[in-house]
Amino acid sequence: MSKIGVFICHCGENISATVDVVRVAEAAGKLEGVEFSTDYKYMCSDPGQTLIKQMIKEKGLTGVIVAACSPRMHEPTFRKACSSAGLNPYMCEMSNLREHCSWVHDKSEATTQKAIDLVRTLVGKVKYNKPLYSIKVPVTKTALVIGGGIAGIQSSLDIANAGHQVVLVEKDPSIGGHMSQLSETFPTLDCSQCILTPRMVEVAQHPNIKLLTYAELEKLEGFIGNFKATIRKKAKSIDEDLCTGCGTCITKCPTKKIPSEFNTGLGKRTAIYVPFPQAVPNKPVIDKENCLYYKNGKCKICEKVCPTGAIRFDQEDELVELEVGAVVVATGFDVMEPSKFSEYGYGKYKDVITGLQFERLASASGPTLGEIRRPSDGKIPEKIVFVACAGSRDPSKGKPYCSKICCMYTAKHAMLYQHKVHHGESTIFYMDIRSAGKNYEEFVRRAIVEDDVKYIRGRVSKVYEENGKLIVKGVDTLLNAKPVEIQADMVVLATAAVANSGAEELAQKMHISYDAYNFFSEAHPKLKPVETNTAGIFLAGACQAPKDIPETVSQASGAAAKVAILFSQDELSREPVVAVVNRSAPPLYSTCVGCFMCATACPYQAIGEELITNRKGEVIKRVAKVNPGLCQGCGTCVAFCRSKSIDIDGYSNEQMYSEVMALLND
């Protein structure tokens, strides 16, 4: 017979303001199997937890129900409290009186009655709870870091410096990411590449880091501590061991007019190429789509000129399987393709460019070697208009969210321009200036006051060309809201930061969740900002939401710390919520009849077979068997099993059945 203790929390007034907690406690006390019930102001507080522990000991409770907030919030707290009082933690459950009752209903009899119903329902379940013991699984102390931008670089270095192995996977031929494309960084205006490239080199040389560039995640299976990742190493058509990175092949390649991705199309590259001079690794790859040999079977000049004979035209993609214990996702972001805003003329007028393109124009390593020259004719623009929020904060055509970095980089762009073209004029159309951050507001002020950047509060409606000038039509909402027209030589759109185009697919491969904009979702917006809902997978950088560099680096180090914590243990305790095939029920030691449809239904290949033998060693039965290490506890097999031979601990047939019964019978 159960002796359940029911503890009703007021949650300050969060629950007690709409639910008559005293009556709920009274009603709970009358339920069969309930030994003790009470209400208390804050169950999660120290005295609240002490009360539970005390009652477990005093009343000999066999189960505990805390009716308070969502179990997603405090279930671990109360289970731990029970455990410390000697009660198996899985005998403790939480009834969600706050999120599912008091916060969604007004104060009324029906609300209190619902609270009583919810508690009774859970009493029905807890009667059938049984002690469970966490499952120990070994930890593979290698981390997989996906994405070699600043986030991935920082995470990799931190994990590697903690003494653990790292495999860093980057889809492009070089690590570096967006940060390597930037000219200077706000608010210090220090050169982006100057601070980044040493880190890139460190990655390449670190004994604990294995770098796989031009590679992508193909598949991720397994679970925390025991993932199996399959990486597709795209064919580089180069034998990396032989290649010395001398660059002869690049010089001789006849296909020279491919728009350079690194230079956002403002520069050109060859078919065999390194994306930029400081690339890591500094060894070329052949772009098969543009290579003459791959296109029409003739050329092979690079092969002829290569002094080490490193060209491999027959190289194929290679799939590498890795055992890893944790994954850091640092796949970064993309800028919105502004062609959706045809009224801004992007794509139509060469001199309408994105902010990222401007970075390349301003960069010393860029196509203009750092001189601001407009793409159409190479002239130095006398007047530039910057359009902030091009796609951000725009629910009708773009993204409803704020991209967070544009205010700052636009100020930086204008400032860089003013520094380089002293007689130039720069105008910024903006909605609000968001410069929250250390030294950020001062930076913007400097742009306005010292560099004479003109800020116009208003949006741009149209950009069009007339007589060789770009006419920017907009409105100045501060000056009696008059339409303004500015004749500019170049327009820079601060396009929204968006999730990568493959983000959704990648999330599905890893079974992590993502938001409406395809940014990956953190496990908790405040308290678990680097974790995902899948244990062992962490987030770093702008793949989670738009971020600037300092924030990205902090999160990357945070993710690395999480990995290091995970790797500090040899074994992990896993929630024992796993499926089990019965092995005692008659007839013949299990009711399983071995149809193995559970195995086809299992998303984790966690179901194998077991041969039951008699004393003579003869096989008398072939039944399903769940591997508790692989099972993730979804319970699909349980609902599928016709003979009810599989059950799942924590959500067993008896528990769920009893919950339904208790809910509907008062």
Binding site: R72, H105, V638, L663
Partner: protein, 148 residues
């Protein structure tokens, strides 16, 4: 006479809809009290027999809700569930068990408002359909069939 208050059981998955309903709470969006949630790890875990039992024990309506396709925490539990419900619904329909009384939905952890809407529209719909007397009569065999 008191207005009919439908009894509605919601079978929801832990990762999406339960979390979505938590968000409804944190967003303080109001909905009707008639729906009570039972938490499952995944829609794949929800046994059709539990739905049947609910009607047998006097439920007037049922909500079954989980992660959107492709968003399942366990990758495919909801796909299995969807097939199961397609078949189950067809069978119930054949048997004259009122399929309008079971509302299936996908509510993600981010769709707090949708959860409130699902609850409210279901409560309204069931209120319009009235108490499930057809099933209750069958379930109340003891009064009727004592002399088989």
């Amino acid at each position: 006479m008191n207005e009919f208050e439908p009894k509605i059981v919601a079978f929801v998955c832990n990762w999406c809809t339960y979390a979505g309903a938590d968000l409804t709470g944190t967003s303080r969006i109001k909905y009707a009290q008639n729906v009570k949630i039972i938490r499952f790890p995944c829609t794949g875990r929800i046994d059709f027999m539990l739905l049947l039992k609910s009607f047998g024990e006097g439920a007037d309506g049922i909500i079954v809700s989980g992660c959107h396709p492709n968003d399942c925490h366990y990758t495919s539990g909801n796909f299995h569930a969807r097939r199961r419900w397609i078949m189950f619904r067809g069978l119930l329909d054949m048997l004259g068990i009122d399929v309008r009384r079971i509302q299936y939905s996908w509510v993600s952890a981010a769709e707090g408002a949708k959860w409130a809407d699902v609850v409210n529209t279901t409560v309204t719909a069931i209120r319009e359909l009235g108490p499930y007397t057809d099933y209750a009569k069958v379930a109340g065999y003891l009064e009727k069939e004592a002399n088989v």
